[in-house]
């Protein structure tokens, strides 16, 4: 163990409440091993230099909550031989990252690895938490205590369709942050950033940990709309598309929040780690 168990989750929560990227906090999603296994460690370092947290997506053959971009990047990663085993090895050798890392995975690759082995190994390589989109509250209980017992967070996802009493339960139980899905549908679609203020207010009210909104967030305009209501935003498909086009992901992320934080304060905090990355 590289840190006392409670420290890692608390550090993640603090970082999202007090982001160095400006406000709101930026959570970047990368498909592990995309665009290639060899290019990934540098990409991860550079993105972790700008973002406040990085979700590393474990590719899966049947990503039912994902739109076409993540389906495509997952397939390419799988074809390049990316496995959970490789991801954990890579995290062990990538060196200190400037932002905490979470693993986002469908449940089956985690099951196949084995929860005991997984929480041990993930703890050793400083993973702060897990996001498992097909592991709803009713199914996550034994796994949740195992993850928390190992000093990591299990992030709960909530949706605009989650009814009030359930929302309370999920928000109270979530660690690291609450993942507020902005819309019905899959990742990468048309994010819904209008007309969800009331939903996000309810989420924030019930949460003791930071609230991050995600699914379909692509533009400065959307980030600006969400900023007053949440602690952070998750950028996934849009970031992967920048990488696919051969663009500069770190710069894309910086531009996203620079453009959005003007007039809201917090912009002055940026520049430290972010400026140092290529």
């Amino acid at each position: 163990m590289t840190a006392p168990p409670v420290g890692r989750v608390t550090a993640l929560e603090r970082r999202l409440k007090h982001p160095t990227s400006g406000a709101p906090a930026l959570v970047a999603y990368l498909t592990a091993g995309f665009p290639s296994r060899s290019a990934f460690p540098d990409l991860l370092r550079s993105v972790a230099g700008v973002a406040d947290a990085v979700e590393i997506g474990v590719p899966f053959t049947d990503p039912m909550a994902d739109g076409i971009t993540i389906q495509r990047t997952s397939r390419i990663a799988l074809e390049d031989g990316v496995t959970l085993h490789w991801i954990l090895e890579m995290l062990g050798s990538v060196g200190r990252l400037e932002a905490p890392v979470l693993l986002m995975s469908y449940v089956n690759p985690l099951l196949a690895y084995g929860w005991h082995r997984l929480t041990d190994r993930a703890g050793e390589v400083d993973v702060a938490g897990f996001i498992v989109p097909d592991l709803p509250w009713e199914e996550c209980q034994p796994v949740r205590s195992r993850i928390e017992g190992a000093g990591m967070a299990l992030v709960q996802l909530v949706s605009p369709l989650t009814p009030e009493p359930r929302l309370q339960t999920l928000c109270a139980a979530s660690r690291g942050f609450v993942y507020a899905v902005t819309t019905t549908g899959t990742t990468g679609g048309e994010g819904n950033t209008e007309g969800i203020a009331d939903y996000l207010r309810r989420v924030t009210r019930h949460s003791t940990v930071p609230v991050c909104a995600g699914f379909g967030i692509r533009s400065t305009r959307q980030v600006r709309q969400l900023a007053p209501h949440v602690d952070g935003v998750v950028i996934g498909s849009a970031l992967l598309e920048v990488i696919e086009r051969g663009g500069e992901p770190a710069r894309f992320l910086r531009d996203l929040c620079e453009g959005s934080s003007g007039g809201m304060g917090g912009a002055g905090q940026r520049g430290g780690p972010a400026a140092a990355t290529p």
Partner: protein
């Protein structure tokens, strides 16, 4: 607990089943569970369904003694004729039930997946009859190999969407139907075609398919004065098999499921790609919302499958079958593509019945059973008719 009391309130058959879905779908599944329990307890719903099954589907379907085929295989062979149900397969039993449920729940549209196209056709027909708009996702490969069914769906006014992603067969079609459903879980009804997926589907589809076994048990008793030695059916997701087996669970009757061995053959235990024998060669995991046996690699990635039969070409299986298998209540074997085609030819020639390639697997399993149990009486789920397969059969030299 006896075998008939599963699933429990959380949708578990022993350790199998459950509900592994994105949060966005949880509420829709809870509403479906509630509405389905209410509907199935409601006499009026039951009467409407029975009338539809009788006057539109053509139930009860007959029980036919297959004298010549049975003689050839050393069996007393009986066929439960789901091939004679409207649209040509057992899939219609479930499609009618769920479509009526969709209507009762006020759904604005229906989505479905299909492999062989039999479920797609059944869903399309049921939706046409009730005036419900219907979209069916179908793998691009399956659209080619089961082309007549695509045309039928379109005639019924259903939109058929080709799925090029993934393996372009049934599994990719389910992925895509779920993505469609997750976009609007409150307005869309997902009419799932087999006893797979998240709770309550494995239970719900079974309840609509039990009519096969209930009728067959009654007919068999009436015709012979006793029960068969064994029931046998093909297993893709497992809906026709569970429909046949379930009413026999408390009887001293052997229950046998036949999986698609693809090129590997009856006793093939090499387990590589090239088959769809999920229970025989798989291991437990989560796919499409439930914990069940799966064909996966050691990293938990789902394997591509192969079967000459599109309806069996699926790397998962219903959780209740995984449970029946692990508890040794039912037994599962495989037959190869070639054995299935051979059995189909014999059944056609000796009985004047052209079965579906899926059904042909059950027939080949029966032939093998006859070798080991000469003289046994066997009740076989004749799940569908083979008109859709004529192109494939021509390609195989028949």
């Amino acid at each position: 607990m006896t075998a008939t009391t599963w699933p429990d309130a959380r949708g578990r058959f022993g350790k199998f089943g459950g509900r592994y879905v994105p949060e966005t779908l949880v509420g829709a599944l809870e509403r479906l569970d509630l509405a389905a329990h209410e509907a199935l307890a409601d006499e009026r719903f039951g009467e409407t369904l029975s009338l539809e099954l009788e006057s539109w589907v053509g139930r009860p379907t007959p029980l036919s003694r297959a004298q010549r085929l049975g003689d050839a295989w050393g069996l007393e062979l009986w066929l439960k004729r789901e091939d004679l149900a409207h649209t040509g397969a057992h899939k219609i039993n479930n499609a009618v039930g769920q479509a009526l449920l969709a209507q009762r729940m006020g759904a604005g549209r229906v989505v479905a997946e299909t492999g062989a196209g039999q479920h797609g056709v059944a869903a399309a027909a049921a939706c046409a009859r009730l005036g419900l708009p219907c979209t069916v996702y179908m793998g691009a490969i399956d659209m080619k190999r089961q082309a007549p069914n695509v045309q039928r769906m379109r005639l019924f006014g259903t939109e058929v969407v080709p799925v090029e992603a993934g393996d372009a067969t049934l599994r990719a079609a389910i992925d895509e139907a779920m993505r469609d459903w997750v976009a609007d879980p409150e307005g869309t009804f997902y009419l799932l075609g087999s006893v797979v997926g998240p709770h309550p589907y494995p239970w719900l589809v079974r309840q609509f398919q039990r009519v096969i076994g209930i009728e067959a048990r009654h007919q068999f008793l009436k015709r012979t004065g006793g029960l068969p030695d064994a029931c046998i059916a093909c297993v893709g997701g497992g809906s026709n098999a569970i429909g046949l087996f379930h009413p026999f669970l408390d009887d001293p009757v052997e229950l046998i499921g036949i999986e698609a061995g693809g090129a590997t053959g009856r006793s093939g235990i090499d387990g590589g790609a090239g088959h769809a024998a999920t229970i025989t060669h798989g291991s437990p995991g989560v796919l499409h919302g439930c914990y069940s046996m799966l064909l996966q690699d050691s990293d938990g990635q789902i394997l591509e499958t192969h079967s000459v039969s599109a309806g069996l070409d699926y790397p998962g299986v219903g959780p209740e079958h995984s449970f029946l298998n692990s508890s040794s209540i039912a037994y599962y074997y495989t037959v190869s593509d070639a054995e299935a085609i051979g059995a189909l030819e014999e059944c056609s020639r000796l009985e004047g019945i052209l079965p579906a390639l899926e059904t042909a697997h059950a027939l080949a399993g029966a032939k093998n059973y006859g070798r080991d149990h000469p003289g046994a009486s066997l009740l076989l789920g004749c799940s569908g008719r083979g008109d859709k397969d004529l192109d494939i059969l021509a390609g195989a030299g028949l």
